[in-house]
């Protein structure tokens, strides 16, 4: 019977948080996006005696109303520009970089977006603008379309990580706003990105 319960909870974990590679039999890491109510909706099993598989919130899982305002207002600046600087500086929001003429996510880009997703889920009061950027080597018109695809690829990935799509919007700048205006390979690497910008509550 307890096997069934374990299996059921593990199943929830997999469904809710697809990136966790496998269930662990003991001290199961709880899913970050499953609210406590969902876990409680598991049919009660009277004979269950063990507490080994009890799902508890992880320390960084800001779920209750009493916790979230304290975490954000105390540590994060109110000014949105300052907040963006701090968020980039501390690595809360990391941009996703792309290969030349590519819009698929590298593993580096995926881990950058995973970090961003974790922060965004903890700070649900903020909305996100995702800007798609390209290097100067392409043509303006095609690059506008490529930038659109890059921004949306990042958005969709953040959605699979549990960030609500309605909090995010995208815009393509193509090659119009390079981060590094130099005409060098190292500048081009910096300029091919999905740039994450907090745009307020």
């Amino acid at each position: 019977m307890s096997k069934v319960v374990k299996g059921f909870i593990c199943g929830l974990v997999i469904i809710a948080f697809v990136l966790v590679p496998a269930c662990r039999s003991k001290k199961t890491t709880p899913p970050k996006v499953v609210p406590a109510e969902t876990a409680e909706s598991v049919p009660p099993i009277p004979t269950m005696t063990t507490t080994e598989t009890r799902v508890t919130n992880p320390p960084d899982f800001v779920q209750t109303e009493t916790q979230s305002p304290r975490v954000t207002t105390e540590n994060l600046p109110a000014d949105i520009e300052e907040l963006n600087r701090v968020a980039q500086q501390r690595g809360y929001l990391q941009d996703a970089f792309f290969a030349y003429d590519e819009s698929t996510l590298s593993t580096d880009a995926q881990s950058a977006l995973t970090a961003a997703a974790n922060w965004l889920k903890r700070n649900a009061q903020y909305n996100l603008l995702i800007e798609g950027h390209c290097d100067e080597r392409g043509t303006e018109q095609y690059n506008l379309a490529l930038g659109d695809r890059r921004a949306n690829t990042a958005k969709e990935y953040l959605m699979t990580l549990g960030v609500d799509g309605s909090r995010m919007r995208t815009v393509s700048y193509g090659e119009e706003r390079p981060f590094d205006p130099a005409h060098t390979e190292s500048a081009w690497v910096k300029n091919r990105r999905a740039h994450l910008v907090i745009v307020g509550r």
Binding site: Y142, R149, A151, N152, T170
Partner: protein, 414 residues
């Protein structure tokens, strides 16, 4: 007004002696030589040359119909002058001031002294360059049967105000003026077939939106399409349709919408990136760029989205296709040895040639008579707009201030 006046001062003046034409020898037989002596006038050289005589002689020299014959000194503008200048015609001009107006009389005399063309024009001082272009247009029509292009306009994007905004200039680079005022990135203008309106993209609202504006900068409307991106918009030459790049969830495709925002249709349905639509002159086909083969290449489809054919095969990046007015040639941006160049393809034979130039050269646009191509180049270190004949000769920079790009030549000759 000050900005426009400054632009005129910055633009180099072209005295008559600097005017040259470089027509290929094979075509030279059809070129009519015309002598254009200084106008009969009591007005100062300054009042006449910059605003009137210089643009008129520039137009005549660039007409492809006339060549300017050097004028021997001290001969009155009559049949004798034509003979001694070894010209078929003399253009006799008279400019007088009547109260607030200038009156221009233009007479085209042949070697017998007979008047082949004669017309009076009247306007205020700011209209003098317009009168010059009208005289040139009328002369070309008189000899060629087709109107000249000297009142056509080139729309473009310039960042000289601090942001890229939509600007307009005359065909010779004169009269540069700002049309849009979003104080935000505003790019890729495209003319309506009646030369009255332009459609373009602006990020003024933080999203990428399509706008329509009239040529005087008024009547601006935003055209909601219901999809994202809204770039590379271009008017159909035969209907009220606008083709553009729309995107849903990061899949840019070619869409068409009425200019009143109704009847959105999606023409391409692949998962690859599509961009840069352009109508054929008869409105029956649309060229576009697609990454479906792995690199951006030029394709053509019927205006309903059917019958897709690949056009470009050379090089690993081609974009910005634009049809010549006769529909038989296409110019596009083609990467050659790491640099973008203007490539001109004959759509019948599918043979193409590069019009080589320094730097990167992009976004070609044809003059309404198909004799000229304007494009953007960064050969000076900054993006500027240039004009050349289709064979690459008579290259002339048109912009000098700030950075300038996305040229689109108006569709009608006048």
């Amino acid at each position: 007004m000050t900005a426009a006046a400054l632009a005129l001062i910055v633009t180099p003046l072209y005295a008559q002696t600097q005017i040259q034409t470089s027509i290929e020898a094979s075509k030279a037989a059809n070129i009519v030589r015309v002598a254009i002596p200084w106008p009969d006038t009591m007005l100062s050289t300054e009042a006449i040359n910059g605003p009137f005589f210089a643009p008129l002689t520039r137009d005549i020299a660039g007409s492809g119909v006339f060549a300017i014959a050097p004028v021997p000194p001290n001969i009155p503008p009559n049949a004798d002058l034509a003979k001694s200048a070894n010209a078929q015609f003399v253009l006799a001009l008279r400019v007088t001031a009547e109260e607030q107006d200038y009156v221009v009389e233009a007479r085209l005399l042949d070697t017998t002294g007979a008047m082949q063309f004669g017309k009076r024009y009247r306007g205020t001082a700011p209209a003098l360059s317009r009168i010059a272009h009208m005289v040139a247009n009328d002369l070309v029509r008189a000899l060629n049967g087709r109107p000249g292009i000297f009142l056509s306009q080139i729309a473009y994007a310039s960042n000289r105000s601090g942001y890229y905004e939509i600007w307009l200039m005359d065909w010779d680079g004169a009269n540069q003026r700002q049309i849009s005022h979003h104080e935000a990135l505003s790019i890729l203008p495209s003319w309506s077939p009646d030369n009255d309106r332009m459609v373009y993209t602006s990020l003024g609202r933080g999203t990428s939106d399509m706008y329509i504006i009239n040529r005087r900068g008024g009547g601006r409307i935003r055209l909601p399409t219901g999809v994202g991106l809204n770039t590379s918009a271009t008017f159909s030459p035969i209907s009220n349709d606008i083709a553009f790049v729309g995107s849903i969830a990061g899949n840019p495709d070619i869409y068409v919408i009425h200019d009143d925002g109704r009847n959105l249709r999606r023409l391409t349905t692949t998962t690859s990136i599509e961009s840069t639509p352009e109508w054929s002159p008869n409105g029956r086909q649309i060229s576009f760029t697609s990454g479906r083969s792995g690199t951006p290449q030029i394709y053509v489809m019927d205006a309903e989205g059917t019958n897709v054919q690949r056009i470009s095969f050379e090089g690993e990046w081609n974009d910005d296709a634009t049809w010549a007015p006769d529909g038989e040639q296409m110019a596009y941006t083609s990467r050659v040895n790491g640099r973008f160049q203007i490539r001109i393809m004959n759509l019948v034979t599918r043979e193409s040639r590069i019009v080589a130039g320094e730097g990167s050269n992009e976004q070609p646009t044809w003059s309404p008579d198909g004799r000229w191509i304007a494009f953007q180049s960064n050969r000076s270190g900054r993006w500027q707009i240039y004009r050349m004949r289709v064979d690459g000769s008579d290259l002339m920079p048109l912009t000098f201030e700030g950075e300038n790009k996305d040229p689109d030549w108006s569709k009608k000759a006048e």
